[in-house]
Symmetry: C2
Subunit: 213 residues, 2 copies
């Protein structure tokens, strides 16, 4: 398809597509004349992923390029490409906002992973750092964050990862990686929205006083 059709089918404005092409978020099309190129289904998919990262995941353009580079890196196996792509995403807790992590939070995070039967993550893994920094905040405010409190979160995360990976298995090769990255990013707001709705519902059923009662 031509650029105009790619824009129409994806719903992404022409100027944005040209910008993504210049920034290397989208591979160049197949040249068919001095001024025209042809684009395929893989461009349509990649465009969708770039938009998911940038618009929904709030990922800066330079970061999106890193993530997509990892997705395309055929020198690595699927697991390493996914790991690199996900760890290139903006961290859950931004570093400049995080307090210095405490030793006891590091200790708790380690105990949590042991209790879950998970391997030790790389000490610089951004998700691990976000976890430790969230535990540090809970500790310093005196809120409950014993391993026993954190464990249900870990168990549920594990169940979600299994069902997510089952979904991803329906896609093949690079497409599977694109789906994995998109689902990581796009299901985060689904999860948080549902948790807030569930909180409101649970609070209602426990603490709502009858109207005019």
């Amino acid at each position: 398809m031509r650029l105009a059709e790619l824009s129409e089918r994806s719903g992404v404005p022409l100027a944005t597509i040209k910008y993504y092409l210049r920034e290397g978020l989208l591979p160049p099309g197949e040249r068919i004349s001095a001024t025209q190129a042809r684009y395929g289904e893989e461009h349509l998919r990649r465009l969708g992923l770039a938009r998911a990262l940038i618009q929904v995941g709030r990922v800066p353009v330079a970061t999106a390029r890193e993530v997509l580079r990892a997705v395309d890196d055929e020198s690595l196996d699927l697991s390493r490409r996914l790991g690199t792509a996900v760890s290139s995403l903006p961290p859950v807790v931004r570093e400049e906002k995080a307090e210095p992590v405490s030793t006891s939070a590091q200790q708790r995070a380690r105990e949590l992973l042991t209790a879950l039967g998970w391997e030790d993550p790389h000490p610089n893994d951004p998700s691990h750092l976000s976890l430790v920094s969230a535990i540090t905040a809970l500790e310093s405010l005196g809120y409950p964050c014993e391993v026993a409190h954190l464990l249900p979160y870990g168990r549920l995360a594990s169940e979600l990862a299994t069902s997510d990976m089952d979904l991803m298995a329906e896609f093949e090769g690079t497409t599977r990686l694109e789906a994995a990255v998109a689902l990581t990013v796009l299901y985060e707001p689904v999860l948080l929205s549902l948790r807030r709705l569930a909180h409101a519902r649970e609070a209602d059923s426990r603490y709502r006083e009858p109207e005019g009662g």
Copy 2:
């Protein structure tokens, strides 16, 4: 305690405490002379909550004031105070980033809540809007978001809400509300970090090729 001790015990700089007092995030202390006031444990706790909102939850100061006002509004019952406080938090998906929601995403969100046995939320509930907008993004990119895919997320959110509310029940009255708001905000990064770690782990166990193999 005096202002200096409040600063020392909370680890919050004096200038920040004075700013919070001016902005109404912290109630004034009890005046003991023309230039001095005394602060209590409730100030220490409230200061912790304000910091959790602003530093970890990335909540703007004006929004934090709204949230804390809802926590303190004794004209409402606990359930409504919590509901108002949580819906005053910045939404999971920021409106300016969200695409216009689709009718089919609204339909799916409704079916999901029915399948979960949850009541219809208020159509302007910010968490519900975030959910619909996340489903719109998944749909428009052609990623799986059938009710069957969303349901495990809803079930797990429900389990988390139950265990969260059990935790909160250990606190009394306004303190319980403070804990509820803090745990809503502070456990979000815990949950997302653990999900990303679980993804990496699950991908490893499914797709990692042996080194040098």
